[in-house]
């Protein structure tokens, strides 16, 4: 196991990690941001947009959203480029009241055409149960949909661009250089979004589901035809990506509602989810030995808002915060016996993180550079709000 001397990552990162001396590739690649000609890079994006606009008489692009602050930023930039987007969202069934508010606000504030796909819940839950059983990962079925449904829509409607936000393989571990301008692809989806586990790995000997209900979990088959029609771009290839600063500006500018987060200082990323910092984060710790707070601290070290010493201290304030898993398992229709079995047999490293009681929201000390980009945030009133089939 090798640790980076500059950030908080070690070689256990699931995307793979490399080092040059004591510095990890993520830190090395991050430094590229300060030396690149971003005006030139932005001009390449403008060129792509120009080509896309000639191809379709209705929508220029699709923007896949969850209602996250990053989605607000992507939409802002897409509109700045004078594109006509179609917003596409997959209902994860995990929204709390803040999540629904943000998603609705995104669509109405920007006044966008939108499609929301509500997967058949029984099949979805069966896939989640299988995903937990096989891989200790509850998010895979939603990730499979979120990274595939927008591609199907673009393919079927011949919409030439799909605009994503940050390329996490570049942002977190510097797997590619910024100069490579890596695009979304079937390979990248399996490798980085799904960690090698597509829908095929969940069925067969796994989930007992009707395969006719799995259409949008599969990526489109004919990659040659797809590549001629649709291109998936990451905005982080064309703009100097700084998520916390970008997301902070979405609050005042566009009414994004941040969520008070007992598991990180970041009130923007995946705000409005009943699972992201709870069961999903618990299982991440179980599999990999670190939580989302580590990602956030590493990010802020690289952006110069935290020193490594400050980051270590802040991480320690959050990393042992307990999680109540009961609401999630209740949503999943798992009995108490099932929950007890799960805790006893599937959790080794993270049993100390389980709690039945109310979660305490602490406010530890943050350095000024960080405080400047943190907004006031509210606690959610209710988790796992299901509006039946959503909106």
């Amino acid at each position: 196991m090798k640790n980076c001397k500059f950030c908080l990552y070690d070689s256990s990162h699931p995307f793979g990690m490399a080092y040059s001396g004591e510095k990890c590739l993520g830190c090395i690649t991050h430094k590229e941001k300060y030396n690149l000609n971003w005006v030139e890079k932005y001009s390449y994006l403008q060129e792509e947009v120009k080509i896309a606009k000639k191809k379709n008489k209705t929508y220029d692009c699709i923007v896949p959203v969850t209602g996250d602050a990053e989605d607000y930023f992507v939409i802002q930039e897409v509109l700045r480029l004078e594109m006509n987007p179609l917003v596409v969202s997959v209902n994860s069934y995990f929204y709390n009241d803040i999540g629904w508010t943000n998603l609705h606000n995104l669509i109405t504030h920007f006044d966008l055409d939108s499609w929301v796909y509500n997967p058949e819940k029984q099949t979805y839950q069966e896939l989640i149960r299988t995903s937990i059983r096989k891989y200790n990962h509850m998010y895979l079925p939603w990730l499979q949909l979120h990274t595939s449904f927008p591609v199907h829509v673009a393919n079927e409607k011949s919409i030439p661009l799909i605009v994503w936000g940050g390329n996490q393989a570049v942002e977190q571990v510097g797997k590619f250089s910024h100069k490579d301008s890596v695009e979304m692809s079937s390979w990248s989806r399996i490798e980085h979004d799904l960690f090698g586990k597509d829908i095929e790995s969940l069925i067969g000997n796994g989930a007992q589901v009707n395969e006719r209900k799995l259409n949008y979990y599969h990526y489109p088959d004919d990659l040659k035809k797809l590549s001629k029609k649709v291109k998936g771009l990451y905005l982080s290839n064309y703009l100097p990506w700084d998520p916390l600063k970008q997301n902070h500006s979405m609050v005042l500018k566009h009414g994004f509602k941040p969520e008070a987060n007992p598991y990180s200082f970041d009130p923007y990323e995946r705000a409005g989810s009943s699972v992201y910092y709870q069961i999903h984060d618990l299982l991440k710790f179980e599999r990999l030995g670190y939580r989302k707070i580590t990602d956030h601290c590493t990010r802020e070290i690289r952006h110069g808002r935290l020193t490594r010493t400050e980051a270590v201290k802040i991480e320690s304030n959050f990393i042992n915060n307990k999680i109540n898993v009961n609401p999630f398992f209740k949503w999943l229709n798992v009995t108490q016996t099932g929950i007890d079995w799960f805790i006893k047999h599937r959790l080794n490293k993270s049993t100390h993180l389980i709690s039945d009681s109310e979660i305490n929201y602490k406010t530890p000390y943050f350095p000024n550079k960080l405080k400047l980009v943190l907004s006031e945030a509210s606690k959610p009133k209710k988790q796992f709000i299901n509006y039946g089939k959503g909106v």
Binding site: A18, S20, F176, S185, L226, S227
Partner: protein, 228 residues
């Protein structure tokens, strides 16, 4: 071209950083879908390594499922190792340090086992005032006159170490300096934008081996075919 070592794949440019790429089967399955002509998997082995790395890597190659021709090599340095590679789902075997051996027994034994059409040489080179070629067994660039046994190779991959990762930096002059017929060569390292320059060109190589940047966008192979 893919680098593969210790059960994991690495980016085939920027060798010094060993940037991770991903899992071998996932990469190969997608290159199959992208209808790539040939996949070359190289183990970047320097100096001498212990056999356990070789065995575990060969076990991974053995499990590989692909409908595309595969060339594989890296670290096969003696005749005893040839029997280890004979059951692999691989069409051609790539030898690099064997091209510096004074005797030719390894390449001749490989020819007997697999047929001459299965023997490929790999010559990483630098072209400055003179050409120097890389001997992985001693981890050094050496003079061209240390090369032997090229005539035993059915095909030779010429890898431009200085131009790797660039779109068009490959030093085409190298074939004159090495006195090799380009028609028996595969050019690699800085070739992805050179397709046009080789159309109807009698100095064109047999093929171009593009780095794994072909994975950077969906089905980017069609970009090359459109140029052809």
């Amino acid at each position: 071209m893919i680098l593969f070592k210790n059960g994991y794949c690495y980016q085939s440019y920027g060798w010094n950083l060993l940037r991770p790429l991903g899992k071998l089967q996932n990469i190969v399955s997608h290159l199959d879908k992208y209808l790539i002509d040939d996949i070359t998997i190289i183990r970047p082995i320097r100096d001498n390594e212990n056999d356990s790395t070789l065995l575990s890597d060969l076990n991974e190659i053995k499990k590989l499922k692909s409908s595309t021709p595969i060339s594989f090599g890296g670290g096969i340095r003696n005749i005893n190792q040839l029997h280890l590679i004979s059951g692999l789902p691989v069409e051609r075997f790539v030898f690099s340090s064997a091209l510096f051996n004074k005797e030719s027994s390894l390449l001749r034994a490989a020819t007997d086992l697999f047929g001459r059409q299965a023997i490929v040489g790999l010559i990483p080179f630098k072209l400055e005032a003179q050409v120097s070629v890389f001997n992985s067994q001693i981890n050094k660039f050496v003079s061209v006159d240390k090369l032997n046994n090229i005539e035993l190779c059915d095909e030779v991959i010429l890898y431009d170490c200085e131009s790797e990762g660039s779109p068009n930096g490959f030093h085409k002059d190298v074939v004159n300096k090495l006195k090799i017929n380009p028609k028996n060569c595969v050019f690699s390292g800085g070739v992805s934008d050179l397709v046009n320059s080789f159309i109807n060109n009698n100095k064109a190589p047999k093929a171009l081996a593009v780095e794994n940047s072909i994975l950077h966008r969906e089905f980017s192979k069609s970009n090359y075919y459109e140029k052809l």
